[in-house]
């Protein structure tokens, strides 16, 4: 009985300090800064469009190790910040929008819109330095990639 009573007191004390820590973490300011890029993957030479540039080797190398295409070209890029509990929608091309809802603690809802209609909604985790990619096939055996990268702190 005495042993049970002391273990409850220890548990209650631990609970008190744990609750203080949880309140501090959950209430802290939490913003998410992302770099978004629309990339086109193909097995051909650089397109003639002067606005498209070759993706840097670091990112292109990662994509090439996962996907079959060897050449990657950047169509557009944008940086944006989402606060915890907030939502941000950015335009990647005239036919492609991406919307990010930040749920806190590296968890996001990513919604992809094609021609104004939502194509897919996915909840996932984005850790600093990692890539979150939404991709799909394009004509002539090419592919499109929306690459989100979280800024390292």
């Amino acid at each position: 009985m005495r042993r049970h009573f002391s273990s409850c007191r220890v548990g209650t004390a631990a609970a008190f300090f744990l609750s203080l820590w949880i309140a501090a973490v959950a209430g802290a300011a939490d913003n998410l800064t992302l770099h978004a890029r629309l990339i086109w993957g193909a097995d051909r030479d650089k397109p003639s469009d002067p606005n498209m540039r070759t993706v840097e080797p670091e990112t292109a190398g990662k994509l090439a190790k996962v996907f079959k295409w060897q050449s990657y070209y950047e169509v557009s890029r944008t940086n944006f910040t989402v606060s915890a509990g907030g939502t941000k929608k950015v335009v990647m091309s005239p036919k492609c929008d991406i919307e990010v809802e930040y749920l806190g603690a590296s968890n996001v809802n990513v919604r992809l819109y094609g021609k104004g209609k939502m194509v897919v909604c996915k909840r996932q985790t984005i850790s600093p330095g990692e890539l979150a990619v939404v991709a799909g096939p394009d004509k002539n055996d090419t592919a499109w990639f929306v690459v989100l990268k979280r800024e390292r702190k």
Binding site: H4, S7, C8, G11, T12, A14, A15, L18, S19, L20, I22, A23, V25, A26, G27, K62, K65, V66, F67, K68, A84, G85, G86, T87, S93, K95, C96, E101, Y102, L103, G104, A105, N107, V110, L112, G114, K115, K117, M118, V119, V120, C121, K122, R123, Q124, T125, I126, S127, E130, L131, A132, V133, V134, A135, G136, P137, D138, K139, A143, W144
Partner: protein
């Protein structure tokens, strides 16, 4: 007019499925019956044509990427099918210790979330640990998730998307 049984026998001869005795019988039929001989030659031509021109089905993505998506889906289903182990007597003391911890922790978390809402937050969802992939393909676009640990990359592949 050839009967169906003879037709099946000729097909089986072409596929090498007959015994020696049955093969001899089938050969005899071919030798004496022009219709059977014509059918056998036609079947043999088709077989040669298909073997030489079979279309190779290629995946639109790397093989590892494709099979990783399947493996990940299998593992996810296996995890959800696992049942939780029942606590034994030796865990009762630990549970008595954790109950007050859990109760106060829930209260603190609720207070913190309530503070977030008062300060203008729109989301009512608590921050969950780990990745919970929930697919909501509202436009019937089939998709699956793939994780590459070496490249620190999570991919959502959508079978149809914007051009």
């Amino acid at each position: 007019m050839m009967d169906h049984k003879t037709e099946v026998m000729l097909q089986a001869l072409l596929d090498g499925e007959l015994s020696e005795a049955q093969t001899a019988t089938a050969r005899a039929v071919i030798d004496r019956d022009a219709e059977a001989r014509a059918l056998y030659e036609e079947l043999r031509s088709i077989k040669v044509l298909l073997a030489g021109n079979e279309i190779e089905w290629k995946l639109s993505e790397a093989r590892e990427f494709y099979w990783s998506g399947i493996q990940r889906e299998i593992e996810r289903e296996e995890r959800s099918a696992d049942s939780e182990p029942r606590p034994t007597r030796s865990l009762h003391a630990l549970l008595r210790l954790l109950l007050p911890v859990g109760a106060v922790g829930i209260v603190a978390l609720s207070l913190a979330l309530g503070w977030n809402q008062l300060s203008g937050s729109k989301s009512n969802l608590p921050a969950l640990a780990g990745s919970h992939d929930i697919e909501t393909p509202l436009e019937d676009a089939p998709s699956f998730t793939f994780r590459s640990e070496p490249e620190a990359m999570t991919v959502v592949w959508v079978d149809s998307g914007p051009n």
